[in-house]
Symmetry: C2
Subunit: 726 residues, 2 copies
Amino acid sequence: MKQFLKLYTTTFLGLFLLTSTPLFSMSNGYGLWLDYTKIKDKVVLEGYRSQLQGIYLEEGGATLKVIGEELTMGLGTLLDTNLKFNALGGDGNMLIVSKYMNLPKNLTEKMEVDDLKKEGYIIKNVDMEGGSHVVITARDDIGLLYGTFHFLRLLQMHKPLKNLEIVESPKVDIRMLNHWDNLDRTIERGYSGFSIWNWQTLPDYIDQRYIDYARANASVGINGTAVTSVNANALILTPHYLEKVKALADVFRPYGLKVYLTARFSAPIEIGGLKTADPLDAKVIQWWKNKADEIYSIIPDFGGFLVKANSEGQPGPQNYGRTHLDGANLLADALAPHNGVVMWRAFVYSEHDPTDRAKQAYNEFVPDDGKYRENVLIQVKNGPIDFQPREPFHPMFGAMPNTPLMMEFQITKEYLGFATHLVYLPKLFEEVLKSDTYRKGKGSLVAKVIDGSLNHKKLTGMAGVSNIGTDFNWTGHPFGQADWYGFGRLAWNPYMDSKDIADEWLRCTFTNDEHFVGPVKKMMMESREAVVNYMDPLGLHHIFDTGHHYGPGPWVDNLSRPEWNPVYYHKADSLGIGFDRTKTGSDALFQYAPEVQKMFTDLETCPEEYLLWFHHVPWDYRLKNGRTLWDGLGIKYQKGVDQVREMIATWEQMKPYVDDLRYKQVTMLLNIQLKEAKWWRDACMLYFQTFSKMDFPKEMEAPEHALEYYRSLQFPYAPGIRPSWN
Amino acid sequence: MKQFLKLYTTTFLGLFLLTSTPLFSMSNGYGLWLDYTKIKDKVVLEGYRSQLQGIYLEEGGATLKVIGEELTMGLGTLLDTNLKFNALGGDGNMLIVSKYMNLPKNLTEKMEVDDLKKEGYIIKNVDMEGGSHVVITARDDIGLLYGTFHFLRLLQMHKPLKNLEIVESPKVDIRMLNHWDNLDRTIERGYSGFSIWNWQTLPDYIDQRYIDYARANASVGINGTAVTSVNANALILTPHYLEKVKALADVFRPYGLKVYLTARFSAPIEIGGLKTADPLDAKVIQWWKNKADEIYSIIPDFGGFLVKANSEGQPGPQNYGRTHLDGANLLADALAPHNGVVMWRAFVYSEHDPTDRAKQAYNEFVPDDGKYRENVLIQVKNGPIDFQPREPFHPMFGAMPNTPLMMEFQITKEYLGFATHLVYLPKLFEEVLKSDTYRKGKGSLVAKVIDGSLNHKKLTGMAGVSNIGTDFNWTGHPFGQADWYGFGRLAWNPYMDSKDIADEWLRCTFTNDEHFVGPVKKMMMESREAVVNYMDPLGLHHIFDTGHHYGPGPWVDNLSRPEWNPVYYHKADSLGIGFDRTKTGSDALFQYAPEVQKMFTDLETCPEEYLLWFHHVPWDYRLKNGRTLWDGLGIKYQKGVDQVREMIATWEQMKPYVDDLRYKQVTMLLNIQLKEAKWWRDACMLYFQTFSKMDFPKEMEAPEHALEYYRSLQFPYAPGIRPSWN
């Protein structure tokens, strides 16, 4: 205990040294995937101990200090030993951590560094006089930190330390979290408590969480964070708040984590005292230049602005008859002298535009391809609507060869069961990244758009809308941590297999016991299809209850904007169900490459999981299995419920392998998931039955209540809703 | 580590068994004053081990199980040993825990139980054949649990276990927390995060916090909790929410903690579909009867209703031309068949009433003394205004001999520096409780009103407005835990010395090292006078910035209701400052007993700490020390700042005795306190100088900014404000 605590504490920049007081605290998940534990397998342990007899760590600044602390804690705990930091050249097998430029010649001549890029690292065995060493090297300090985390992960996963030949460089430049956190600490679409940013006590009080947040992000290669909501508040750009942001930036810096802010387009009026925010107005241009100068004088490595403009009521350049291009370039020019970037969100749609909402972003942005400044990225949601359990990839991917497009994933589960459903999102992310846009022929994967390789982009990025809150375990659901972890891993390398990511996460978070890893990984991998089945099967989408998006609301038809109503999306009638996006309908398919258009248009080739996304299909249409669409719908809903039952059965078998707190937590949450899966099935099928007039398929269990019951349910305080929408 | 965890886990009703995974978690204060640690003093440890060789614990239900778990964990950790539970009559010195009725005769004949009341307990040494035992006995299970916590506290404090003759019974019946928690998890006047009640996931998800909350409350004898805000939402009384409340009640029950709810007076309209909430309307009467029946069918031991009516915009009986008496008795009649109680708050004041706000509650309630049902308590704030750093006791105490009056203290620091100032509140509570009302002659202490002894009351109570939130350490400031602890101890025994309480809390929470306990106890004891000095010296009150009450706002004069404006309270003008509440002014003094009136009226006898509360005094008035009032004011403000500096100096010396996380946290917080103490001094003195036109006394440091700077400060997202007031 003492030993552990002593080691543990060195992480925190030496600020926080603990006594040996026992903790009245649970294995509460706070430690995430960095919950180093002593290796129990004696063979593995002894192997590591003999390979790691000392550490050489290059001297240096704050990041090097962080590396030393992480190694002291990580190795100290994993190996249950107190490793010494030594000079080079002594006896024994060493871990050597040093930038390439500082390594002695007899080491560098054994290393191949041509493929090593900024932030990248090499982990390699090198035999030299005195011992057989493991070398972690990089071009920069952050590369060393990332390599250190990778190295510790090898140990957490009991990987052999022989024949190591790891060369890793990030494939994406900007790998960042988007916090939809408001200044009052509510979080839009937050389900794991409230914002970890305590603006009231900043800058004077540094919450331990800020440090651990930076460390966790660095461990998966996340290098940026926009700490405020895209529905932005201009106050964050005032000196009072910038001083607080600076305090965060100072904490994050050693971990390679840059701070970004959301810029409210009307800020020049609201906090600048100007009469307009017109992007072509000289005073407005000057105001943003001055504001950028001011921010960089306070935070020299400030990342840049994230902007939601002219979307869902947010102000933007169109208020002045200007375009998104005008707006983005305005901010880009202000940031350019400081090497800052603008991430301009493509999530725009207008109640004044009768076009299929799925088409509007493409229409708005694609014509201006190539006209954006070099430091502008267009941030595009993975699909054309809004983070549904399943969407086809966004048609903008691949359609703007001359503009950097960033991916925007949602890690928080707005439409996937909040923080109470176990749904492993990297499976969804992988599906999107591996989708083929065909924009430069077969193999033009979305991943290649994101990493820039499809069109040789100079600036690339991936953003994930954070699922982090004040809950002890950060993400509410213990398995929500895997989504944060997996997002980071995929931002580093968009070609990773989500199954491998699950494997890593499980071993680092829980145990290496195969009796646990195997079944639970299977459960995770199947969980995403389960949620699609019990919420939105066969291409259905956006049939959530409105506002809070908690539970089903396919019947909702009374909202002021047509495209906010679920009936807009499913279009169920006496003939059938689904949104015709072919030429006979909205022709949204026209926005895809011809090969993709063709595949989705033809009912023979359109994958059934996208059927109702692109087609309005008769109730008695025959699916590939010969059953009617109506039966198939019911069978899918039932399947989703059954899959949750299987998850529960799997989890019950895991009791011997997992601590009881998390065992119990996950058990309670899976029971909520089952209850809500049934709710979805019953509510949706009863409602759609009012159109199909057909009996439920025999495979489907009878609903527990009548339709009116489901329609009557109200949840005025469901979490995550913008207060002004309440 | 293993040992500790194994022991630890048994607390949680056996639900949560932990593995030996090290915790990536800090000594984060979650454990409160129950953070049992192994006793390091060998003499003490060996003494305890020889005294405690085994445990006999009576068999029984849920509460007995909780006792067993607490003893296993507490003794296991304190003594670093695994004590066996044995039958009676064996060899060795035992701890015997059993209700009196179940003790064998040879034990009962050695016990004196005449003074033992409901919930009380005895801890006593008894020698018998076989050994020298410590016996904990009680009339009921809860008494045994309270006795167990007391016993463990003796060990935490290294007290000898010889010649024990402890007989403790609570002096107050209802000892409860009031949570001002909203259904959206914001907390009105909450500064340590958000509500720990996660209504979204209740009843299916039982957060570990609910269990630990109940346990912490039981450890200090708190036996009730109103989980919802007094600015009530009627939805809490609907079946959807009552099911969630039931889940909490089920968790709390073994710990002797009853659930209460706030009843919105207009609920019959809002959720009952009635046209009126007139307390004399037959349908309304029936509705509340039915509602009470419904609640008790779900929660058989439901405590009752807490009501804020016709105050600050809340609905109430006066909306229908009825009285508080009518309203309270309406609810009392509905609850009476189930033995529920109504706590009707006296905190009422009206913008239509030009009377001094300090007088209104008394005027409203005192005339109806004796007319309230037997199960009604009138809940009275400690002072006549609103939880100021210092107020004279409320004139209602002692003035309603025929009606039970409950005390309402505020544990959350709305007016005392939020969760960032170290201010030890039991000192304030003690001052109030030991105030003499003189209603039945000298010695008619407020404490005697509260424990019912002054007028032989059958029903007594004390409420504390909770300072608990989702922060890891529950209360934000590590020293905020002492206020929760101390409230509980004073509710159990309103005659306790706050210094003794600080001593207990420090030893149980930090260490028994006298180098720490002595100086820190002194710092705590002086902290309340410090905050009075730097915020509201010499009887000033309610000069806080409005709405959020963060920082000074003595200049505010533009609010719609006169009594919401700070200028209403300080009445500074060219002649002087202070609120004349003598006969020449509002004559609020008339509401006190003649002896008290006399003391406060006469400038010779009025204590200077109440000077400006009761008198408008010229700027050049001579204080007892010969200085002018103006100089005295500046000297007091300066003194407050200096006192915080002393606290910082004291705390710096404590580094060797406290874990570094809390050391650093308190250091950061004390620095905020110093910054804000200066802000108060400078803002208030600069503002008052505009009236006095006098130079600052030479003792006072020069202000850091001009008055306009302080007036310009705005804090739109200061925490704890009701969203609708924002």
